[in-house]
Symmetry: C2
Subunit: 207 residues, 2 copies
DNA sequence: CAATATGCGTACCGATCGGTAACATTGTCA
DNA sequence: TGACAATGTTACCGATCGGTACGCATATTG
């Protein structure tokens, strides 16, 4: 909803599984490369080569590499919320703690995977300290949303100080993102994520 | 102690305050620029220009930009431990909790400063996913040391599960590093750092 | 069949990247 | 004075960076 279509959608129902347009291939390829190696480390030439398209196709669909990076993060943001809310829904809206813990358990185990690279949005903020960068803006907005959502969940759990618990949980989550890519041999500090969250939540429900 | 001197030290007591060698100026300038903007974002030309030296001087003192980045992180690592252990000493070796909390309170407030940029070592790991990069190696070694040290402190506090508490604290700390540079307008989630740590420590001392 | 529009590719741009060769200059100490 | 070590000066290298001018192909549409 936040983004105007960069190319026309293929009319649905006409051609059976139309070949993916160049812009889509670029978007998907950029997503993989940007996430795995970082945005600065990936050149536009590598993107178009791996996507099987050419450079002008990239610049017809995206005004600049920076905007392509921002588009990558918008996709990333959308997928994050989709999975996050799905877990909450799955546990039932009346049981936010179970839904959040499901997310945390999953994150804790993913963070121990061999080539885990953390959160693409957090990583981008590290790569681009300047607030004016379009990709960083997406990252900042996402994190503000996440912060609010965590406080909301803490309130739904009945925490005595929901904002404080939300922020505490956010520190744990971001810590898991970072340490997950620092201790990739499995069994890094992220293994403590769920247990630490349980203890913090408990401490906020006793008041 | 882990690094052979790249240039001879000036003989102490001969010349009164000898002019800083080119290698030192490069090291200091690189440190500031790398930390503030990230390593990939800073070119060697910018470093030598701002340091007031020339490019050959850089490459006479350091074999490559990557090794200069590694040297920057070794300095960073040394300063980190110096300040960290100083706080512990200041609180008394018989009171590790007070020393750690002093560190956490300080970190929590620093993380709210306008242009806070987190931990240079963590940031570098985000910038360089490849384990073979010399700068990343320094980062990984540092984080392993930090993890062990935190578990050690947890044990000294009498925690029931020192490794678990140590890892939990590490998640909070790394979370403060990252969120500190995401919510630079002060009052980010890092404000919860100390309080969350207190609660986690308490929960590990009740067993 | 033409006309038009859309999508894509070839080839190229100037700028900057990390890094180096060869030589001049300086200051220090014997 | 002479030798040496450290730095500066200048000019350069090939590679890669992000970005673009321009023309070719295909397909729909009158």
């Amino acid at each position: 909803m936040a983004q105007k279509p960069l190319t026309d959608q293929p009319v649905p129902g006409t051609a059976p599984a139309a070949a993916p347009r160049a812009a889509d291939k670029i978007r998907r390829t950029a997503r993989e490369l940007f996430y795995a190696a970082g945005i600065r480390a990936v050149g536009v030439d590598e993107i178009v080569t791996k996507a099987g398209v050419t450079k002008p196709s990239l610049y017809r669909a995206f005004p600049s590499k920076d905007e392509l990076a921002a588009a990558y993060l918008r996709d990333y943001d959308a997928e994050f919320w989709q999975r996050f809310e799905a877990r909450l829904d799955n546990a039932g809206r009346d049981n936010p703690r179970a839904g959040l813990m499901d997310f945390l358990h999953n994150l804790g185990s993913r963070a121990g995977a061999p080539h885990y690279r953390g959160c693409g949005l957090s990583n981008t903020a590290v790569e681009y300290p300047d607030d004016s960068h379009p990709a960083r803006k997406v990252s900042e907005e996402h994190k503000q949303k996440l912060r609010l959502r965590l406080a909301e969940l803490a309130a739904d759990m009945g925490a005595d100080d929901p904002k404080l618990l939300g922020d505490s949980l956010m520190l744990l989550i971001e810590g898991a993102f970072v340490t997950g890519q620092l201790f990739h041999a499995g069994g890094g500090p992220a293994r403590a994520l769920a247990e630490a969250a349980e203890r913090l939540i408990d401490s906020h429900l006793k008041g």
